[in-house]
Amino acid sequence: MTDVTVSSALRLHPRVSIRPEPFGALLYHFGTRQLSFLKSPRLLAVVEAVGDAESVGDALATAGVRDEEFPIYLRALGTLRESEMLVERAA
């Protein structure tokens, strides 16, 4: 899996569309025809914040993720990076 750290800078891939759902959200990538289920509304908040935030750590803090939850959210972002839902952004 692609490592995502608190200092990574990411943004949503331009060909990804987000559909909010009660359980979190559905992401659809028009390029890879891949669907990702975000199983937490807070993860959706992170994904929405990450493009404007200075770093992934800032996006996690903005979304209200607690420090002890960072590892699981970083792992989730790594999965989304791996499937190109999120892409690297120049910091």
Binding site: Q34, L38, K39, E68
Partner: protein, 31 residues
């Protein structure tokens, strides 16, 4: 005298993955 017990604060951290991925290739003909 009774003991004063402090309420336990438990921090729950989800261990399961927050993301599930599905490819829609192969679903042609479903709709």
């Amino acid at each position: 005298m009774g003991h004063i017990t402090e309420p336990e604060t438990e921090v729950e951290v989800e261990s399961e993955s927050l993301v599930e991925e599905v490819s829609i290739d192969g679903m042609c003909g479903v709709y």
